[in-house]
């Protein structure tokens, strides 16, 4: 493709000047442009600044940055990498696997991949097709193509970084040359990812193409994905210490559920979010559990150490990695045995770290203990408020996680941090986790269909509040599911007000345990399919939020059937239609 080298709006000239220059530049040939570049460089040289002539401006090595992302981490890393690539004189294009095509790989010379793993070792939803194609026999040969893979994951999952690993192996199998070793990163990926990216790009960059003094390498390449410039100010690394203003368990007494409405005072410059974003929370551990863990390894729950353990380390998640560390550290044969065959899978089921320490007790020093633990990862919560409706606040909807196993009462760290260990006036460390892939339609007139169960309803509260503030007139339809109508109808009074005011056009509910047969949102979707089909035909955007295993899968399957019926085709036709919607950004999911 030939790009007309128009100066970008951010070029160091006034808009008028940019227009004038572009009038001329637009008609130039490559030779003329090289001459210009050389001329100015030479001119600067003549003025004394030591620099090579324009030779430096020769075409740079192409780099294809590819990412597969669900919640945006890989995407952010990929977009950062693009900026860094400039420095290495690489001509980088960024592609989301969601809208990338195999052909692009065939053409590529240098590839960097940022890949997340989801589900149980699955690729992110939007990357499924690309991933399948890459793994299929139809995948193009990549002889001589140089590549490097960074995989994101969570050691809490059995299939840690499965997708990144598979892609790394596949690229090699197709003839690619590994330019830098793959790295598999846990939830605390930020620092290591930055280091790795620097290293990998340096290796990929052609040696002679390091940046030259004064020929500023401007990025001419559009194409691929252009970032919203929304680098958040508060991050997991630099969170905001915010006060908890409200804490209400929304479930009526007598409910088996416990869902907390949490209002956090986030009135700090630069703390801003959009409906669809998530708020990250760096929780504190349960002191009781911390105490058990410390005592199990023969340590006193001493002030300084305890504080560290409470606020900085993951003392719940039982992971292979942790057991490996513990085995190395203690040199215990029986712990090693745990890692052989399916022993680990057997043991780890429904267990937590403390179980290992208690089952295989060893005296550890504080340092040793900390070396076994991973940093305490933040938890994400879909923001349940519109910043326009609640300036300086962020509302979350947090489902308390509690269960019992192996004779122990277990508590979710972050959810019970709010439910049990924080009171109004207490504080929490929070940050914004943007989600570009769960957004209201630009056009406020577009209808929206919001499907969610349990805490999955959170972002829709934000959506409707936002549309009220924007006086957006588009129709809206909420499908909400929970257990019992009487006690579990989250935000019921607010939905009633929105309905009365016309801010919410329709609501359908599925309460699974109010009657003998179980009724879930997907059943309601099917009952209402005729009307859904016409809404979608009218350009409606469809959203799904909430539990992946429990709901999103079935909703997805039902939408396929509904679209199939509309297309008078089979499930494949439905799937194709759903894909279209996905590509058009009209089918967005926020599932966990």
């Amino acid at each position: 493709m030939t790009v007309t080298p128009l100066l970008p709006k951010n070029a160091p000239f006034s808009p008028e000047e940019i227009d004038l220059l572009n009038k001329v530049v637009a008609r130039t040939t490559p030779q003329q442009r090289s001459w210009l570049a050389g001329f100015f460089a030479g001119f600067e040289a003549a003025q004394g600044s030591a620099a090579l002539p324009a030779a430096a401006a020769k075409p740079r090595a192409p780099l294809t940055i590819l990412y597969g992302s669900e919640s945006g981490n890989s995407e952010t890393l990929a977009l950062k990498a693009k900026k860094i690539a400039q420095k290495h004189g690489l001509d980088a294009k960024v592609f989301d696997m969601a809208d990338a095509d195999m052909a692009l790989l065939a053409k590529a010379k240098n590839i960097v991949v940022y890949a997340a793993t989801w589900g149980e070792g699955d690729p992110p939803a939007r990357a499924i097709d690309f991933y399948a194609a890459l793994m299929s026999d139809a995948a193009p040969r990549l002889d001589g193509v140089r590549f490097a893979v960074l995989s994101l994951g969570d050691t809490a999952y059995v299939h840690f970084c499965a997708v990144g690993k598979a892609i790394d192996a596949r690229l090699e199998a197709l003839g690619g040359i590994r330019a830098a070793d793959r790295i598999d990163l846990d939830l605390d990926f930020a620092k290591q990812a930055a280091v790795w990216t620097e290293g990998a790009l340096a290796k990929l960059a052609p040696p002679e193409a390091s940046a030259s003094g004064t020929v500023v390498h401007v990025d001419f390449t559009g194409g691929g994905y252009e970032a919203e410039d929304d680098e958040p100010q508060f991050t997991a690394e630099a969170p905001l210490e915010a006060e908890i203003a409200t804490l209400i368990n929304l479930n009526g007494s007598g409910s088996a559920r416990e869902t907390w409405h949490v209002e956090i005072a986030t009135d700090a410059a630069g703390f801003s979010y959009l409906p669809g974003d998530a708020i990250g929370v760096l929780p504190e551990n349960d002191p009781e559990l911390a105490d058990q863990v410390l005592r199990a390894v023969g340590l006193q729950a001493d002030g300084a150490l305890l504080l560290k353990v409470l606020t900085g380390y993951d003392i719940t998640t039982l992971s292979r990695a942790a057991v490996e560390n513990y085995a190395k550290l203690t040199g215990r044969a029986d712990v090693k045995k745990l890692l052989e065959g399916d022993a680990y899978a057997k043991f780890s089921f429904d267990r937590q770290l403390v179980d290992v320490f208690e089952a295989y007790p060893e005296k550890l020093t504080a340092e040793q203990l900390l070396s076994v633990l991973r940093p305490l990862p933040g938890r994400l919560y879909s923001v349940a408020s519109s910043l326009k409706a609640h300036p300086g606040e962020a509302h979350l909807l947090v489902g308390a996680v509690r269960w019992a196993s192996h004779g122990k009462k277990r508590k979710g760290v972050a959810s019970t941090f709010f439910a049990d260990r924080r009171k109004v006036g207490g504080s929490a460390r929070v940050y914004v986790k943007p989600n570009r892939h769960f957004r209201l339609p630009e056009d406020g007139h577009k209808p929206i269909i919001m499907i969610g169960a349990g805490t999955g309803v959170a972002p829709y509260r934000a959506f409707i509040e936002e549309r009220v503030e924007l006086a957006a007139k588009g129709k809206s339809w909420l499908f909400f599911g929970e257990r019992n109508f009487t006690n579990d109808f989250l935000y019921q009074l607010e939905w009633q007000d929105h309905l009365a005011a016309g801010a919410l056009s329709k609501i359908d509910t599925a309460f699974s345990r109010d009657q003998p047969e179980k009724i879930y949102v997907q059943h309601r979707l099917w009952e209402r399919r005729a009307e859904l089909q016409s809404w979608i035909a009218d350009g409606a955007h469809v959203y799904v939020c909430g539990d992946e295993k429990g709901m999103a899968k079935d909703v997805d399957a039902t939408l396929v059937k509904i679209l199939a019926e509309a297309a008078k085709g089979d499930d494949d036709a439905g799937r194709a239609k759903l894909k279209e919607l996905t590509k058009a950004g009209r089918y967005q999911r926020d599932v966990y």
Binding site: I248, L250, G252, T486, Q492, L499
Partner: protein
């Protein structure tokens, strides 16, 4: 001029024969509530919207509306059920309601806690059991109570048959019930519904107020004959039914502080032959329809029509519509209003052991449920599944396991025992007790009733022991407000809620249900109630004449004056 009619009159008029917007309301899934006007209309269909008053406080904070649910009241004239029906009702209790069956003071069942999304299915399940809820509430003839147990004697069977016949004859005719609940096709004829098309007897306004009919077979006055709008007393000659004494103008409800409202014992209208009874019911009802007060619902019951127009005028109008005169009331004698608990054999028919047996089981305040160690609901279910008997509900909130052949008596006792259901009651006071539902479901409750009376009686039993009265029949009834749902003004000890924890104490009603009580103390809490009653128990034990009833003694001993008529209820009160 302005419309002085009570609001409900206009609601009924505009309801298209009780349809209102019920269908639309059921479809609105955002709320468990229904439209304001429909609150009134759904009563005619046998249901009330309520909310759990125990949790009212927390709901708004939790962004939840009130915990709405529906009470459903069945129509079971005479209260007779087959084992199959019992099983069906038991299923419904756990599938759609709060897991309990609530026997009412009018020989039927109520479910509580049915949420809107289950209302229609519940109605259909009830109808599938060949029962219904039509006219169990509302300004119509309510469920007809008949002397407990059609199987007890030929006369009881005739009372039962009459009750059924009257209930059917006075049933609303609107198609609304079938349309809304049973998906029957629309049969409303708008062109005529302004007239009497769909409801030849009730018209578009139905009655000014509820209308209650009961049938008694002396010597038992279990149905409390004098507490109802219309009553029939069987007149027997050597066990053979010769005809009925007809009573009108009884009722309990009143409003605290409104002296124009008062409980009233029914008057004798006259005597009729068996075959005239149903027609008389229609005429008594239509006179009330035409004469009753449609401006003040507090004064709209038939008892006030009789007060205002006079008994003779009412009788004359009924006779005019009948086209003949009623006979002079025949003598009769009632012994009491309670249920004889335990086993009892049919009074006539077969001889000796072959006569069917009937077991009257005491059910505290009519609440049939399972709790640890006392699984009465399961017991009855087991008995029903074995088909060992029929089931009869009584007007004292009890159940009769009826028509049992001798060889099954032991089996039934064994099952009850196994479920911790004991046939002996802790005291006769408790055996003669009734409490209305009140909190948490009743929207009108001012104080606890069903949840408080049991512990109060336990406390009073000490006093009874001191006086040695544990085995003496004394009737005690409690309500959570002055509406009188457990007929407290006809109890020898009546407790009527005024405020949380505070009750008005009434004494001096006749044991046989023929005389109303009188206010003795106001706003008494638990301790004061006990402090007031214990000395009276002692005095009664020491000073009573042979066979003198507690209700008569308190009058002779001067604790209260006798109430000679309803309009004297508020007269000569001396507060303790």
């Amino acid at each position: 001029m302005t419309d002085k009619r009570a609001k409900n009159e206009i609601i009924k008029e505009n309801s298209h024969q009780l349809r209102g917007t019920l269908v639309e309301g059921l479809l609105d899934v955002a709320t468990g509530n229904i439209a304001e006007d429909d609150h009134q209309l759904i009563k005619f269909h046998g249901s009330y919207i309520q909310d759990d008053r125990d949790v009212r406080g927390e709901r708004a904070k939790k962004k939840l509306e009130k915990a709405f649910s529906f009470m459903i009241r069945l129509r079971i004239p005479g209260g007779l059920m087959t084992p199959k029906q019992w099983i069906a009702l038991d299923d419904i209790a756990s599938t759609y309601a709060n897991g309990t069956l609530r026997l009412t003071t009018r020989e039927t069942f109520q479910y509580h806690g049915v949420i809107k999304s289950n209302l229609k299915r519940t109605m259909q399940a009830i109808n599938a059991a060949c029962l219904d809820t039509l006219a169990a509430c509302g300004d119509v003839n309510r469920n007809v109570m008949t002397a407990a147990n059609p199987h007890l004697s030929a006369a009881h069977k005739q009372a039962y048959d009459l009750g059924k016949a009257i209930s059917e004859h006075l049933l609303p005719q609107t198609g609304a019930y079938h349309e809304i609940w049973l998906d029957g096709e629309k049969v409303e004829d708008k062109s005529r519904s302004a007239g009497k098309g769909e409801e030849p007897m009730y018209g578009v306004h139905y009655l000014p107020r509820k209308f209650k009919t009961v049938i008694a077979v002396p010597p038992d006055n279990d149905v409390d004959i004098f507490a109802h709008d219309l009553g029939y007393i069987a007149i027997l000659d050597k066990g053979e039914l010769t005809g009925w004494n007809v009573t009108i103008g009884g009722g309990m409800g009143m409003t605290h502080g409104d002296l124009n409202t008062f409980p009233r014992t029914a008057d004798m209208l006259g005597y009729c032959k068996p075959e005239q009874a149903v027609d008389i019911a229609e005429k008594v009802l239509t006179v009330q329809r035409d004469w009753g007060n449609r401006e003040s619902r507090a004064r709209a019951r038939l008892k006030y029509t009789v007060e205002d127009r006079g008994l003779d005028a009412y009788r004359a109008e009924v006779e005019k519509r009948l086209g003949y005169k009623l006979g002079k009331p025949k003598p009769f004698k009632f012994s009491g209003t309670g249920d004889p608990l335990g086993w009892r054999q049919s009074l006539d028919g077969k001889k000796g052991e072959d006569k069917p047996w009937h077991l009257t089981v005491f059910i505290e305040n009519g609440r049939i449920k399972d709790r640890a160690g006392h699984t009465m609901r399961s017991a009855f279910r087991e008995i029903a599944e074995l088909g060992l008997c029929e089931f009869v509900t009584t007007s004292n909130q009890n159940v009769i396991l009826s028509n049992v052949t001798a060889k099954f008596k032991a089996k039934i006792e064994a099952i009850l025992k196994a479920h911790g259901v004991h046939l002996d009651v802790s005291s006769k006071l408790r055996a003669n007790s009734m409490a209305c539902v009140a909190l948490p479901t009743c929207g009108l409750a001012l104080a606890e009733s069903e949840r408080f009376l049991p512990e109060l009686i336990t406390a009073l039993e000490d006093g009874l022991d001191k006086a040695g009265l544990r085995d003496d029949d004394i009737v005690i009834r409690m309500t959570g407000c002055p509406n009188g749902c457990s007929r407290p003004y006809l109890a020898e000890i009546g407790l009527v809620g005024r405020n949380p924890g505070l009750y008005n104490l009434y004494l001096g009603a006749a044991f046989d249900g023929s005389r109303l009580s009188k206010l003795y103390a106001q706003d008494a809490g638990k301790d004061r109630i006990i402090a007031l009653l214990e000395p009276i128990f002692l005095a009664y034990a020491q000073q009573r004449k042979a066979g003198e009833r507690f209700g008569d003694f308190v009058i002779r001993a001067g604790y209260v004056k006798a109430t000679t008529a309803g309009n004297q209820f508020h007269a000569d009160i001396k507060l303790a």
